[in-house]
């Protein structure tokens, strides 16, 4: 496993319902990431299809693995890159049960997937109308370290990222489709989640406008002590690279020993109280 890895945060604007065009963009930027000596390139939530696709989600969703994942696997193999992107996942066991998924692919093929645990359904969001909830945190041991996955609104729930960290993730990747009015929340929460878990957190948001929703971009890499190490432009498409140095984890964990200080018995209380809210 490498001590240091280079990330490319591909803050794109997706063409809604146009998987071919979005895949072309994913391909182009994966090559660009490769040229810039990145190990892992990350694309936003539902970057394969766009975020506001409403009832068309049923036509767009695919199984994982499936045709799109196979194409991304071929791209990862060809470039030697690791790739993370978002897509609507069709359950293999049903015809129209869909998850909001993050997919991690490496040069050897599909490494894993994560199904969003907290699809928001309030304000402009209507995800629960379309998506079944995920139940499992995701952390995968790879050549690039242990990489955890989560999606957008999950970041409001400390337990999701805590589980991801406890499962082993050293780098938590949060892909997102966050509209501009929520920018300040995400700027606070991404730093907080990294800090409280003493883990790297790479946040990659959509840019552009979909049906009046303006995604604010602002993708970033946050250090295990909550510092923003790199930040992409607000609102516009952008592509930045940044470095994760895993040796920073040891210093962070000794200085802020939140993992050492975890109190498992409190989680029973959390369960008890949240059930009776």
């Amino acid at each position: 496993m490498k001590d240091k890895i280079k990330l490319a945060l591909a803050q794109i604007s997706s063409k809604r319902e146009n998987k071919n065009e979005n895949l072309q963009k994913i391909e182009k930027l994966t090559f660009k990431a490769k040229e810039q000596a990145a190990d892992l390139v990350i694309f936003p939530e539902l970057s394969l299809t766009g975020y506001v696709v409403r009832d068309q989600i049923y036509e767009l969703a695919e199984t994982i693995p499936g045709p799109t994942v196979e194409k991304v696997e071929a791209l990862a193999k060809k470039t030697g890159m690791h790739i993370i992107f978002g897509m609507p996942e069709l359950s293999e066991k049903t015809q129209a049960t869909v998850f909001n998924a993050a997919v991690l692919v490496g040069p050897q093929g599909l490494i894993g997937k994560y199904r969003k645990m907290y699809p928001p359904t309030h304000s402009v969001f209507e995800e629960k109308r379309y998506f079944r909830l995920g139940y499992q945190p995701a952390a995968f041991q790879t050549d690039l370290g242990n990489i955890g996955l989560c999606i957008c609104y999950d970041v409001f729930f400390p337990e999701v990222l805590r589980l991801t960290r406890l499962k082993g993730a050293q780098l938590i990747v949060c892909i997102s489709a966050s509209p501009a009015v929520r920018r300040s929340y995400f700027e606070i929460l991404t730093a907080a989640r990294a800090l409280e878990n003493t883990a790297f957190l790479a946040y990659v948001n959509l840019a552009g406008v979909e049906d009046g929703l303006q995604f604010w971009g602002g993708s970033r890499l946050v250090s295990p002590t909550g510092d923003v190490l790199a930040k992409a432009k607000y609102d516009e498409e952008d592509f930045i690279t940044c470095e994760v140095d895993y040796s920073d984890l040891r210093a962070a964990e000794t200085f802020i020993p939140t993992l050492r200080d975890l109190r498992p018995e409190l989680f029973d209380k959390l369960k008890e109280y949240s059930e009776s809210l």
Partner: protein, 283 residues
């Protein structure tokens, strides 16, 4: 958490950021629609002046056509002059179309036309303006840019399928008092930004007289309703009678029919305007 106190400062916005956001919205929409620009009605009022300015800043004045659509009954040279001030400052194209003749034809051609019913008559004017705007948009391959603000829209203070008919409505999420401040931020003269609003459906009509409330108060009531505050809380914050707030709330709720697609009885599997939930594309 302490609740927000309803004072004029709650309506403060970062106007540079607001300008940027609205301009991006207009530009992206026009580009995605592959339109050659926008057409908008330029009344000489602050909503259309601000919308014109934002359109011009987004896609360039040469791609913005401001139609001035006077008619003899409500003609006001000051409005024409004010419209020209905005047009010149933001370098947009303008055209004047006098609607008097076509309105006269309507009045004559409607068998039950009643000239004393000024609202029904006035609505013909608003809808005729819409016809002009869409004619130019069709002809020039442009989109119609509406100028409705949030205060009017929430109150239903507009003509159904008239002034609210548009492809995009860039300032519809801004209350009137916010539009005025944005206008000043954009460099529109203060005198124009603060001039009383009128839908110009009949002579000497002003919005505040008709609504029976000052925008400074109305906007705070609407802001409170937007934030799920109770009528009691709003009345207490503003030190006004609860009945005033209730009146605004009733009007806001009663006019939802003007803000939506027409309603259909649910018969099929998926229904237009109901559970046909499709992405809105601009191609």
């Amino acid at each position: 958490m302490s609740q927000v106190k309803l004072t004029s400062s709650v309506l403060d916005l970062d106007f540079s950021e607001t300008e940027k956001r609205i301009c991006r919205f207009i530009k992206e929409y026009v580009e995605n629609a592959q339109a050659k620009g926008v057409v908008l009605g330029l009344s000489g009022g602050i909503d259309s002046g601000t919308t014109a300015a934002l359109s011009s800043l987004s896609v360039g004045g040469e791609h913005v056509l401001g139609l001035m659509l006077p008619e003899k009954e409500t003609f006001n040279q000051k409005d024409i002059d004010d419209a020209r001030v905005v047009a010149e400052k933001f370098k947009l194209e303008t055209q004047i179309c006098d609607m008097s003749a076509v309105l006269g034809c309507f009045y004559k051609a409607i068998p039950v036309f009643d000239p004393s019913d000024r609202l029904c008559k006035g609505n013909i004017k608003a809808r005729t303006r819409m016809i002009y705007l869409y004619y130019y948009a069709n002809k020039l391959n442009r989109i119609v840019c509406g100028s409705s603000d949030k205060s009017e829209t929430m109150m239903g203070y507009f003509t159904k399928w008239g002034d609210a008919a548009a492809d995009i409505t860039p300032i519809m999420d801004l209350y009137k008092t916010q539009v005025r401040k944005l206008a000043i931020h954009l460099g529109i003269p203060q005198e124009l930004a603060l001039k009383p609003s009128t839908p110009a459906l009949w002579p000497n009509q002003t919005a505040e007289n008709e609504l029976g409330i000052k925008y400074e108060t109305l906007d705070l009531i609407l802001y409170g309703l937007e934030r799920f505050m109770t009528t009691e809380e709003i009345a207490n914050h503003l030190s006004i009678q609860k009945s005033i707030v209730e009146k605004v709330k009733t009007r806001w709720l009663a006019n939802e029919h003007k803000r939506r697609m027409p309603i259909a009885p649910k018969i099929g599997y998926r229904t237009v305007g109901n559970d046909f939930r499709l992405p809105r594309h601009t191609y």
